[in-house]
Amino acid sequence: MSHEHQPHLQHHFETPEQQFDAGKLGIWLFLATEILLFGGLFCAYAIYRASHPEVFVYAHQFLDKVLGGTNTVVLLCSSLTMAWAVRASQLGQRKLLIALLSLTLLGGFAFMGIKGIEYKQKWEHGLLPGTHFAPHDEHAAEAAPAPAAPSPTFKPSAAGPAGTVRGDEPAVSASGPHGKRPSNTQIFFGIYFLMTGLHAIHVLIGMGAIGWILVRSIRGDFGPEYFTPVDFVGLYWHLVDLIWIFLFPLLYLIH
């Protein structure tokens, strides 16, 4: 087999099909690792949602459903333009390919912009993860002292060395417009920021990759004979979309 007419064929492959299939399997394996990476976070989510349902029901009210929903639509549409872009490159429609990639990239910018607005709101309200959690949207609640929590009495049956046992009830204080804040609310925001943050990093990486193939498609690198990078970046972008499809209902739409 002569390799001279196939500039993209690497020396250790016999045919373009073999090379394409190998690349495709490689990228799917990579996507599998991404699923498992996020899987750890989904696992943490599942466990805390199961053990602290009241925290999730309370805290999700601070997320903006409209912004979250808009972002879902933005990502879905950018997925379409990406899938279409792969088609365009397969069919050798260069101008269409450039336009669609630009649209996809625009979608990425829109998503990150909206995400930025959401993060800023959380920051301003002190709705941050872990030790940084310092909500200050509940002025009303702080002005009028909460009804004194029932004084935690030591129950011998609670079985702890003297003085280290706190009240048994998951006490609540600081009632506000969103209801009473349960203890350990910071966990929700920890999970929220970790999941959306890791997802946002993936969006940024995807945007970088799209920018790169955009430059290459302007240069005219792709055509029916060779569109592998467009296809692979597309797969990655769809995976980012796919993860958001789960994140949106799990974080924003808790009932």
Partner: protein
């Protein structure tokens, strides 16, 4: 019964040890059998079929379904048995009898504190013989693990939760306690003793005496008893003695001074105020702190509160 230390295992100190040891020995013997079998066959083949002039490999089957299934099924049956025995033994180790005597255990860097039902706290674990003892464990900082090799039990003590283990000592004497979960600098120094008393009355006598240790202190040394109580009864977790802020106000230099209270007003720190704050902590809350202290009514005796007050006086 073989209760003394052997080549493999330390002496048996608890009722569950014999059962654990039986399984240990059984598995060891199975292992030795297979190990010897493998080694003998190995050396025999290596000697018999060694390469030498004129010797070549002889053809033989390169697989044998029956043989291979045999040596799949036999180990399978053996491990099923081992699993079952291990599981049954574990259920025993995990399930304390209902009437067990309860001791609370707190692990902290790097010591164990054992709290008895009457409030006595000790660095070693004192127990009566021939009676089930349940340990309810937690940790103040990182994960520790309470391990008693002679009793064949071990369980992690974790912060933020209670773990349980139990044993029934079979013979009076001293037994070893280790911390088995790595916990930092003095991990290897986090060791203590189980002291199994000769009889229940002897144990009761020890417990009563330990509860009255203040009586043996001369009045001018009473503050030392207070300091011990401060360390052992949980005051330390919230109230510092060096001025550092904590969950509750520091004890440093408050004696004889006015403390501002939540909701206005102030209180002078003197005998009655301190006594009230221990017995009824919610009565007066120092400004800037949450009403979170549990009551110590019935947990600290009058004499003990007096000792704590004596200690507070020394913290100028």
């Amino acid at each position: 019964m073989d209760a003394g230390p052997g080549f493999w295992l330390p002496r048996q100190g608890s009722t569950s040890a014999a059962k654990v040891d039986f399984l240990f020995r059984a598995v060891t013997n199975i292992s030795i059998f297979f190990f010897v079998l493998i080694t003998v066959v190995l050396f025999y083949f290596v000697w018999k079929y060694r390469a030498r002039p004129g010797h070549t490999a002889q053809p033989s089957a390169d697989h044998n379904q029956k043989l291979e299934i045999t040596w799949t099924v036999i180990p399978l049956l053996i491990v099923i048995w081992i699993f079952w025995e291990g599981f049954a033994g574990f259920l025993d180790l995990q399930t304390p009898p209902i009437n067990a005597y309860e001791v609370q255990v707190l692990g902290q860097k790097w010591k164990w504190l054992f709290t008895y039902p009457n409030g006595v706290v000790d660095d070693n674990l004192h127990v009566p013989p021939d009676e089930p003892v349940r340990l309810v464990m937690t940790s103040q900082d990182v994960i520790h693990s309470l391990y008693m090799p002679e009793f064949r039990i071990k369980r992690d003590a974790l912060p933020g939760r209670y773990e349980r283990e139990w044993f029934q000592a079979t013979a009076p004497g001293e037994y070893q306690i280790f911390c088995a979960e790595y916990c930092g600098t003095s991990h290897s120094g986090m060791i203590a003793k189980v002291i199994v008393h000769r009889s229940r009355p002897e144990f009761e006598a020890w417990l009563a005496e330990a509860g009255n240790f203040l009586d043996k202190l001369p009045p001018e040394k009473l503050w030392e008893g207070g300091q011990k109580l401060y360390n052992q009864r949980g005051c330390k977790q919230c109230h510092s003695v060096d001025g550092a802020s904590g969950i509750g106000p520091s004890f440093k230099g408050i004696w004889g001074h006015q403390q501002p209270l939540t909701g206005g007003g102030s209180a002078l720190v003197e005998e009655n105020y301190v006594r009230e704050s221990i017995v009824n902590p919610q009565a007066k809350i120092v400004a800037g702190y949450e009403p979170v202290m549990p009551t110590y009514q019935g947990r600290l005796k009058d004499k003990e509160i007096t000792a704590i007050i004596a200690y507070l006086k020394t913290l100028e």
